[in-house]
Amino acid sequence: MEKIIEVKDLLFEYEEGLKTINHISFQIEKGTYTTILGHNGSGKSTIAKLLIGLLAKQSGEIKVGGIDLNEENLNKVRSQIGIVFQNPDNQFIGATVRDDIAFGLENMCVDPKKMDTIINEYASKVNMLDFLDHEPTKLSGGQKQRVAIAGILAMSPSIIILDEATSMLDPKGKKEINNLVHQLNKDKNITILSITHDIEEAALSDYVILLNSGKVIDQGKPDEVLMKRKQLESLSLDVPFAYKISEGLRKQGIQIETYINQEKLVKELCQLHSKK
């Protein structure tokens, strides 16, 4: 598999001696949905900022799409990555949804004659076509994040980073964004790197990187990493609901697999029940 992000021995300090990112290494495969999981203050967002060169690393190596991230290559790296930040209110520039999506295109010197077609295409992808002339500030949180994603898609990145992009949204907005991102991952093969502390979201991803105090504590498939209850709890993280139930049942002597996926657990329980 092709590695699209390679991080090697990365070190970053906001203050001297305070290693916010403490010599970490990880790799992300092209086309996967990876979550970086950790509690508030674990260094998650700092990683996102380092990956797009908003912060400069102290030492170590970051490669995106095979290109070394350094001052010279900054634009080549950034053109591959789009990032959606946590607060939907902090990422608008344009006075209308249309202007906002156009902003990135203008920066890339896209021919203004072509812009409308591009804007319409991506606004419709995120289901915001009817809102092109609306003021971004008057949209709901979920709608705002969808506009942010449309703006990113218009730049055709190969990677989208979501930095707790749904943590300020209501459940409906959260679902809208999660569905959209999964769809982009599947249909357009865009690599997704989602930074979150939502364990149920992590359970639905392909790969999980567990972060604490600036170090990678564990990484692997969700059914490996998210099965380690003690480790998750010691990192102030929750345990998937399906895991709690299936583990509880096993303790009662019921023969059942341990699950992190609710749907699968319901299926197995119903089968057991019908066989009774």
Binding site: H39, N40, G41, Q86, S140, G141, E164, S167, M168, D170, P171, K172, G173, H197, I199, S236, L237, D238, F241, K244, I245, G248, L249, K251, Q252, I254, Q262, V266, L269, C270, L272, H273, S274, K276
Partner: protein, 281 residues
């Protein structure tokens, strides 16, 4: 201290082209000492409603009674000062409200405004800071050097310092990690048990189920339901018509029941649910 709304209407920017009818005929009685969740869509009127409880907004018509204080369209703000002490409102993302040089100064700002001596206010500050889970070493730090979760604790401490009988919280755990959210809610529950009335705006039905007694559902500026937690989550069709999710555990039980299990859907506790499932296998 009971909170009563009678036929409360609120229209923003009345008689202008931007006029917006945010509260429509709200009748409500919130019991003293309860912990009540206020749920509903973005834009359903939740924030408008809570701002009436400490008279940040005055009703366009109708009246609100908070113990012996009456709030009406014409009640001038000067006479509402005692109310502001009774009802403390914590906005969403209260960390944006911090403004002082040190955490101590930020917390004592409120009590001093209500005429409490500085030395006494400092004693209060130490007490409330401990209550929100920060030690005294933080008092002289700048609130802006803290993490998001810590900032929020300081902001909430600033409200607690005024010792309100009613504490109103607008999505106090949004953006906090699960551990931070749990600590915060346990704190509110503790404050609630000491006799204070708590109103909490939340989108997280798991929290509502676990921590609250009653639920108020708002939709389109109206209060549509005001029931106990157990009752409200039985109304699955109604909630889904508002796209309000059920708590994880409740929706899980209902899925099992569809396939032949017979489990009481008001179970709130995972261990109890596990026992129940085990018993039916």
């Amino acid at each position: 201290m009971s909170i009563t709304f009678k036929k409360v209407e609120h229209v923003y920017s009345e008689n202008t082209p931007f006029s917006y009818h945010a509260l429509k005929g709200v009748d409500l009685n919130i019991k003293t000492g309860s912990m009540t969740a206020l749920i509903g869509h973005t834009g359903s009127g939740k924030s408008t409603l809570i701002q009436h409880i400490n008279a940040l907004l005055l009703p366009t018509s109708g009246e609100i009674q908070i113990e012996d204080v009456m709030i009406t369209a014409t009640n001038k703000p000067e006479s509402l000062k005692p109310l502001r002490k009774k009802a403390g409102l914590v906005f969403q993302f209260p960390e944006y409200q911090l403004f002082e040089e040190t955490i101590l100064k930020d917390i004592i700002f409120g009590p001093k405004n209500f005429g409490i001596e500085e030395s006494e206010a400092e004693i209060i500050a130490k007490k409330v800071l401990k209550l929100v889970g920060l030690d005294e070493s933080y008092l002289e730090k700048s609130p802006f050097d803290l993490s998001g979760g810590q900032k929020r604790r300081v902001a909430i401490a600033g409200i607690l310092a005024m010792d309100p009988d009613i504490l109103i919280l607008d999505e106090p755990t949004a953006g906090l990690d699960p551990q931070g959210a749990k600590e915060m809610l346990n704190l509110f529950k503790k404050i609630n048990r000491s006799g204070k009335t708590i109103i909490i705006v939340s989108h997280d039905m798991n929290q509502v189920l676990e921590y609250c007694d009653d639920v108020i559902v708002m939709s389109n500026g109206k209060v549509e339901r005001h029931e106990s937690v157990d009752e409200i989550f039985k109304e699955t069709e109604y909630l889904s018509s508002l796209s309000i999710d059920l708590p994880t555990i409740t929706s899980f039980i209902l899925q099992l029941n569809k396939h032949g299990f017979k489990i009481d859907s008001s179970i709130k506790d995972v261990d109890q649910l596990v026992k129940e499932i085990g018993g039916q296998l």
